[in-house]
Subunit: 221 residues, 2 copies
């Protein structure tokens, strides 16, 4: 029944460096690796431009190859398939966000209280997800892998660490999953596009949720 997984870190944040999705690896020499990295960066820039101009639904491997002036085979070799390409785009976006919450200025980065960092984290995540909502939805893993994807686990581990500092007596892992659930792209899609809510209302809801979650002694109404 159980699939073994590496344990989630229990103690303080183990490293200040972002834990990154690394999709390119292999026994390449330094020159080849440098060429491959340049190639990859160019393809990702072209794909990002295409997403902005035409929307995720219209981004194909062929269109990315044409926009970057390379052969289609190069795009397939680099990303495997369209999902691989979308995940790499998400990785690119997530790296910037990870850098901001791991080592950027407070209150999102270190130097503010755990509660203040949580408040800032959710607002940053909401804005980031709203800005690239179609991309997050298109790259959503299926139910059995949704909570194990690298970007999810990096965010989750950060939120769980802040909650353990803010409310040591609570079940930090479950509370962190609850907070992460509020930031799920599928829910943000529903609330903004199907229910017509503003990002400001979602931010207010996040602040309320963080205050409830970091309340040291919950009591019955």
């Amino acid at each position: 029944m159980s699939t073994p997984l590496p344990p989630f870190p229990k103690g303080p944040e183990p490293a200040t460096q972002p834990v990154l999705l690394e999709l390119t690896s292999g026994p390449e020499g330094p020159q080849l690796r440098a060429d491959a990295a340049r190639n990859r960066a160019r393809l990702l820039e072209a794909a990002t431009r295409l997403v902005e101009e035409r929307g995720v639904a219209n981004v194909t491997m062929e269109a990315v190859a044409a926009a970057a002036s390379v052969g289609k085979g190069t795009v397939f070799r680099r990303f495997g398939d369209r999902t691989g390409l979308l995940m790499a785009l998400l990785d690119h976006t997530e790296r910037q966000f990870q850098a901001a919450f791991f080592q950027g200025p407070p209150p999102l980065g270190p130097g503010a209280s755990p509660a203040d960092r949580l408040h800032a984290f959710g607002c940053g995540a909401l804005r980031q997800t709203c800005d690239r909502l179609d991309l997050y939805i298109a790259a959503e893993p299926d139910a059995s892998r949704r909570f194990n994807s690298a970007p999810y686990r990096v965010r989750f581990t950060h939120v769980a660490m802040l909650l353990r500092e803010a409310v040591p007596a609570a079940d930090g892992e479950l509370l962190a999953q609850t907070l992460m659930g509020y930031l799920e792209p599928a829910l943000i899609l529903h609330l903004t596009r199907q229910r017509g809510m503003t990002v400001e209302r979602l931010e207010s809801g996040w602040h309320d949720l963080v205050e409830r979650s970091t309340c040291p002694v919950p009591f019955r109404a």
Copy 2:
């Protein structure tokens, strides 16, 4: 950007009858409808038995036809495809749960305080989902329809109504989505099978979440 949707009820619960997924309809006369209903019930019983014996992954339209001693065409005519069959099985399960929280005995049904009903609702939903986890996962709608499926909306409306009674000052819709997120089958799959948590731990987390959510005046840690 916005897809128009019927509004969620804002006031008190509009009806005591469960709002049910109705998958069978058509211009059939009383006798034909009675035959069709019997046929449908027999197929669902056979499918339920197969799910229990072989697991959802091994339930095919052919296997259900064989187990119910009918032709394969009958199963296809009745449910359209395998997803339709799985949704009908979920509908069957959800009806029982809906009946319990709409009109069953307290604290799940009417007669207890809104907070006590919320406590009972989550425990009921967790047990129900754990008992048929593979079925809930197999029948999960994609991201753009996940929050609009009939069973989700029935549960959501109920939770939102109880929260509005318990904490009128809060943003009941957003808080209800947060509580519903804790009960998502994909999360329950992750926590129980991939993280090895017991249902008892999930229930404790639910009680903590309900206490935090119904806390009248949240304050900063």
